[in-house]
Structures are given as C-alpha cells and as structure tokens.
Amino acid sequence: MINRHIEKKQGISKLLDSLCLSPAGAIGLVFLLVAPILPFPPLNKPYFHRLLILAGIMGIGSMAFDFSSGYINIVNFGFAAFMGIGSYTSAILERRYGIPVPVTMVCGTVVAALLGVITGILSLRLRGIFAVFLTWFIGLALFGLIINLDWLTQGRQGLPVNTLFKPGTPDLVYYYVLMVIALLTWYLLKRIVRSPLGLAFQAIGQNLEAAKTSGINPALYRIINFTISCAIAGLVGAYYAHYVGIIVPDVLSTQKTVEILVLVYIGGRGSLWGGFALAFPFIYLTEMLRSTLDSLPGVNLLIYGVILIAVMIYYPGGLAQFYKYIADKVKPFLLENRLFTRDRHVPR
C-alpha cells in the first residue's frame, strides 16, 4: 500500500509528462485549440477570437510573472513596462529601419531581457516590498520616457506598426501562433522549474538565509530568473504590438501590471498554469459583463478587486489549490474503479 503512489509512467502519460503536461492540462489545451473552430454561436464569432488572443497574451504574461513572483518571491511590479519595452523596441525598429517583423520581435525580446538583467542587478540588495518598489519605479520611469520621447514614439497618439502577417489574415492564424508560443513558454518554464535551477529558485523564495547557507548564490539565480521572465514579457509585448497594429503608452501603465497580477494571484501563485488557465474565462466574463451591463461602468473591475481581496484573505492558494483539492478527492475514486490507469502499481 505504501508503494501505491510510486509512479512509473508509461505510454501516453509518459509522452505527456515529457511535454510537462498533466492529463487534465492536455485536455484543457486540446479544448483551447479546438474551441475557436467549433461551430457554436459564441465560439465562432470574430470578436470571440479576438478575446481569445488577448486572453492568451495576458495568460503568457501571467506565466512569466508567476515565474518570478511565485518562485523567487520577487513581485515585478513594473512587468507591463517590460512588455511595453518589447513592443516599442520592435515597433520602432520595424518603422524606422524596415526590418522584417519576426526579426524585430526577437530584438524586442532581447532588449526586454537586457533590461531584465539590469533590473535584476539593481534590485539585488532589496527584498520583498523594496524590490516591488524598485521595479514599480523603473516601470514608471519607462512609462514617462515613452510618453515624453515623442520624436521616437509619437507619445500619447500611439505608434502605428505593421502586423505580423498580411493585413486581412484571419485572427485564427494569430491565435494558433500564439498558442505555439504559449506551449513553448510553458515547456521552457516548467523544464526550468523541475531542474535543479528551479529548486534553487524555490529555496531562495522560501528562505533566503537557508538557501545561502546551503551554498546557493542568490544573486546569480535572481538575475537568471529576472532575465527569463522579462524576455518572455518582451516577446509577448512585441507579439501584441504586431497583432493590434498600433501601440499606445498605456500598455506600460501600472494598471496593466495590476491586471496580470490579479490573474496570477487568483490563479494561484507558484503554479505557473493558474494565471494562464484563468485568463480565458476571466477575460471573456469581464468583457461580457462590460457589454451587457453597459449602464454600470466599472462593475467588472469592481468584481476583480473584491475577488482579489477575498482570495488573498480566505484562500491564499487560489485556483491551483482548489484544483488540487478537487483532484485529491477525485483521483482515488478513479483509481479504484480502474477508469483511470495512469498510476500502475509497480512490483519491486
């Protein structure tokens, strides 16, 4: 009985595990891939595809955010600024020098990553709330710079850019490319989290002194973590710019960071998937609320705020903890009925 939960993964579950997906995750992913082509009324409308793409962008952003907030316990409160820097770099290179869009997206990623290295180095001495403030202020400074350097960025008017594909390409193409990016991001982050590197991140996040004592160099790991997180932010930001076709300085504002932060913390910190999974229903529901309750402006965000407070106080684990609770209830039932044969008893 003791050995019952020692797993030896075989067949399809082994394949899934090598992709860092659980069966439930794979089902969710398949659903996301199939959803926009199902012929049901809300699913095949163009605006729904648009919402899916926006939610996917927010979701990838929240994965990257959670990678630093959930593991090394540094909340990057200027996260939207890193996304915005990615999009502005890409847009400016594309507009001024006519470099093809995929190359500029890579450039945007690299610039955001470099900025992440710098921020990581600057914030080395700071912990907890002070690191939050430093990243917040760096984000504010970048926001101000983007607004004020209007010979470069056209200030508040916004900077029109070419889209990634030819104009007139259906949103579905963008959506599937985004899903590929999401899958790659997930694979990369999950691989890192499972490796010794991820263990070091967790050690630093949970108890810095203990981590130092066991020979972990926190400076190095914090910089690595920041760089990866900011690089993904830059990539997503650049993708957003070349999807929408125009960027305004507001993408760098604290408001955007807060939106991602809310997703991450309601989704469950330190789970990576929580924010991503939550982004789709959340964006859809808030859009629905906004369009149906037109006479009550702001009610969708109001609910956001209340849920955030309630989750922080009463259920700090968020959606991920809830899922774990449900899964722990359901799994033994499935195992006993032989409906679900992933975990086989392995004779020693």
């Binding site: 912990r127 101000g144 710079l145 705020g305 407070i309």
Partner: protein, 357 residues
Amino acid sequence: MPGRTNTPQIDGCIQIIKETMMQKIIRWFLSPGGITITIFIICLILVTIHKGPYIFINTLITGGMWALMAVGVSLIFGVMNIANFAHGEFFMIGSLVAYFLMQPMMKYLQYHPNSFLIYIGPFLIVISGAVTGALLGVLVERVVFKQLRLRNRYNWLLNCFLVTIGLSIFLQNSHQLLFSANYKGITSYWSGTVKILDVIISIDRTVAFLMALVTMTALFLFMKYSKPGKAIRAVSQDEAGAKMVGVSVDNIQMLTFALSCGLAALAGASLLFMFPSYPTVGVVPLFNSYFIVILVGFGNVAGAIPGGFIIAFFNVLTRTYLGEGWELVLPVLLICLVLIVKPSGLFGAKVKTMLEI
C-alpha cells in the same frame, strides 16, 4: 583583555552625552539627513534667485500636502507593517465628500451671500471629508486587515500590499460606478488672491498650506503627548513589548489606520480646487507620497515633512527647466537611485522590516 571589549562604545556614549549644543548641531549637519536638507535649502535659494520667487511659494504650498499624505503612509507602515497602495483612494474619497458637500453649500450661498458660512464653510467641509475618510479607514481595517491578521501572518508585507491593490481597484471602480467618471471639481473655495513676495497666489492655496501646517503641528502634539499617540509610538517600536505593558494593539492599529486615512482624505478635501474628483485622482498623490517615504526611509514619520518639501521642489524644478510631462521621470530616477544606494532612506530611519521580510 576580554572584559574590556565594550569600552570604546561606552566611551562614545559618554562623549555623545557630554557634547555641547554646538557639537550636536554640527553632527546633525554632517549626517545624511542634514546634508540632504542643507543641499535642498541651498538649491531652493539658488533656483529662487534664478527663476523668481514663485518657485519658493509653489514648493511650500504643494509640499505641505504631500507631506501630509506621506506621513499617513509612514504611520501605517511603522505601526501595522502595511505598505498601503490604496492611500491615494482615500485622497479621492476626501475630495469626493468635499465636492458633494460643496454643491448644496454653494446653492445656499447664492441666496444668502452674507452668511458666515462663506468664511467657515470650507473648513467644515474639509473636516467632514477627513472624518469620512477616517471612518472608512476604520471599516476597511476591520473588514479586511483584521481578517487577514487573524488568518495568515506568513509573508505579511507582500500579501498586504496585494490586498491594498485589490482595495484600490475596488474603491476606484465603485467611485466610477456610483458617481461616474466625470471630473467633479470646483473653481475655488474662497475667491480672491493674496500677494506674497511679488507672487500672486490664491487664498485657497495659502489656506491649504496653513491647514497642512496646523494639521502637522496637531499631529506632532498628539503623537508626543497624548496617551493614544504614545501607544501608537510604542506599537511601532515593538509590538510585543507594547502588548506586555497593556496596550491594546488591535485598537491602536485601527486608530492608526483611521488616522492615516483621515490625513489622506484631508489632503484630498483641501486640494479639491487643484485636483477635481475622478476615479483615478489619487494616483499622482500616491506616487508622490511613495517617493517621499522612500527618500526619507520607510516608517520615518518625522522625516516625511522635509521629504514632502524636497519632492515638491524637485517636481517644480523639473517642470520649470524641462517642461510638462517630465515631472514623473526625473523624480522616479532619483528615487530609484536612493533605493539602490541607500534602501533605508536618506535620513537613516530604523527600518525594522528591512531584513525580516
């Protein structure tokens, strides 16, 4: 000599006690806080000579109110260990209350132009704004932070910061929901101007500055001499110790939260003529109060007052020399520098939470 390891320290203490008044002043001037304030005053004088006295007046008048906001942030951080992101929202509530009280009063004054309310009414409005803010602070403390305190003390500082973000979203959007996102402002409380040093400034601004001064003096006296004030200081120094000598920490935390929110609402109500009430009006005051708090060190209540003037001066300076729009960028970079070089603030506050986060 193992027994005599402590003597240099003791000698140092005795020297400090023996020091004359002059030496004390010199030591203060050489401390980081003293150097900062001296440089600030010199810069202020130089710029005033270069650009005219309006720099000086503007600095004084906006600085007073920023200082009030920052004192509130500092108080909450010192006593409850909460970095309040929703502080600007209490500023918004103060201005909202003032606006809705000002409307009927203006109507009344149209028919009774000689009423005494024309002089005293705005004061009553500002005070009622502050009281409303304080009451709302009590409510928030009881409903949100007390519950969190009872349940989850782990990673308290960061969790509280996130809760206050939720609170900020909630308050901003309830404003939008209930009162719409329009600008709700007035042109002035008292019409008329006064002339100081060749600068014509409105009575409103002068009175706002005076109100800030009076409030700060009252706050100082309250913290120094009254019993609850002493209890607040005790809790901020050592919570367990305060509990041991019979201070009701729970009530003191509620009082502190109410006091801080009341100060923010007072600033909001008295600056209604500059900042009309709309959902995100609190953002700029929030940024400024955080700049101040980080400049002088977290939890340093007294330092917030010179800090307010320094940040106001810096804003005025940037606007004068670089034009509109840059006043967010340069102060932010300055504060980033402070955070990187001296995270405990220029005035060297004792930050108890710096290392135990």
